[in-house]
Symmetry: C2
Amino acid sequence: MTIATLQTIANIVKVSRSTVSRVLNNKWEDFGISQATADKIISKAKDLHYIKNEAALSLRVKKTFTIGVIVKDITDPFYSQLVKFVESALYTKGYNIIICNTGYDLDKENGHINILLSRWVDGIILSPIQKSIENISIIKDRNVPLALFDCKIDKFEADYILVDNKAGTMEAVNHLISQGHKKIVYIGGNSSDLNNRLRYAGYKKALSKASLSITEHYVIHGSYTFKHGYEAATELLRSNDAPTAFFAANNRIVLGACKGIMDCGLQIPEDVSIVGFDDFETATMLPSPLTVIRQPLRDMALNAVDILLSRMDKTNNTPCMTRMLKTEFILRNSTRKIN
Amino acid sequence: MTIATLQTIANIVKVSRSTVSRVLNNKWEDFGISQATADKIISKAKDLHYIKNEAALSLRVKKTFTIGVIVKDITDPFYSQLVKFVESALYTKGYNIIICNTGYDLDKENGHINILLSRWVDGIILSPIQKSIENISIIKDRNVPLALFDCKIDKFEADYILVDNKAGTMEAVNHLISQGHKKIVYIGGNSSDLNNRLRYAGYKKALSKASLSITEHYVIHGSYTFKHGYEAATELLRSNDAPTAFFAANNRIVLGACKGIMDCGLQIPEDVSIVGFDDFETATMLPSPLTVIRQPLRDMALNAVDILLSRMDKTNNTPCMTRMLKTEFILRNSTRKIN
DNA sequence: ATGAAAGCGCTAACAC
DNA sequence: GTGTTAGCGCTTTCAT
């Protein structure tokens, strides 16, 4: 079976390519093409299983209806949910997404940026690992709409979608404080990571507002991993100055910490309280469902799509903006009042 | 900044498009193009941040270096891991993936198939919800390489990548039996789902081999959801003929069942044993790490990529084949010997 | 050692 | 009411 093009149909129906194109794009009324011709064309197109060649279209109209999405780890529920929302929002607008997984590899991130540009994507949603503008400004140079996600890059003006990490963390820690906790641990990600720094700032602020001092060994930066959460929790709980509560800076850390707590023979929330950053399915499924700070993933996705779509209108010259979204405090059952 | 094409560079260096193309594709030695010209072209291309237009290339060479991947739910760890492996394998081969999430919506699945075809993807990896060949045979008609995943479609000859559901389940149930369990529950997915039927067949076979009879109310088909697992477990455990062990047919069911067991005030594995189908990160993070049947996701992904790549060679006429991969029994700590 | 020309499939400006 | 033509950016055959 050979693949049908406009020309194939044109030849059979004995009209020109243009006529076929007009009919198949539902523009035939505007051009006053006769019902009869239109019908013939439409039915032939069906017979031949005609499907438009989008590559040819792209070349012609300089638009690919494709958005590139670069994430750090698609298996992280944070990103997979995000991708789901982005995909779904774009699908309704007629766009597809090319997904790029960097696995926290800078070279791969840069490779992907180049590939996406060579594919002339209509926009890029990027959750970058790189901190410098060096490799990223090429996107701007090419005038490709860009939504930066979950991460601020120094001195790089762009449209950002962020979450109020500091306020969110404060809310979490305030909650623990209000329950009488004073020995509250901060288990964080990489100490150079901006999100981590902001979350830590929220932690500090909450403590200081409550006139609690920062205990140095209660602050453990490290990495956003299960392992780090586990080790931090077990070490502290086995020390001779065990805390009563934990704040864990992301979804993996919190799981590790929970496991660590249980492995120390302690129960949540009876013996130890914990609040995590990020909401995710498993959080609800643990023996004691976790109280968490939820990032508004759906909103973040819709905002990113929205920005991209509006920037595609080249007459749109509104300055870049940062959209800072509020987190949500989800009270479940992993904390307890103490005295 | 206006975007550079081959012509732009050709004009500046005062050579033809062809020469530029040859140089930029590293074919200039084959054509004996002078070092000097080549150098000039290469350096100009850099200056102008030239990036090849893949849409034009696709149109010309009838190849898009794009693979479409259609999954049911990208937030399911099963699929997100799969996508990760597929993406990574294809990245090294110079391919990108367009990800399509159907959300178990048949119309969306068909929509996506059409879109992928119109984009002339070089191959499709599909985990279909549809059971009939009606909408899917169009892929074959167009000669687009197809790898079907996790699912067999009646009377549709294609390259399948499957897992030995029956043997895997048998292994799980055998393990429970060997520990002395006789009251073993099967919590399954949709009863019309083929995978579910095969897993159930494995369950039956294991029991009958051990000369245990099937207890009707110990078999609960339903859906692959947390809710179903939870409800099935709690109902049975509160009945007056409570089981001692569970087999849960996928990752979500098993989490639901675990939660149900705990909410009944019982402990895993002390009071109740459980084995699940699917391995996933959270399985290791539960209070008692779950013993599971792991699907070889990486292998499945590599096989899918492999099939696609080999089918792209149009001279390859080897008949379609089904690759049935073995599952792996992962012993952790969610079962216990009883007497 | 390099160029000219054709053509991939499509749309749109212009023609009649 | 419909056709002609040009051109998007690229590769490739055939010339020279």
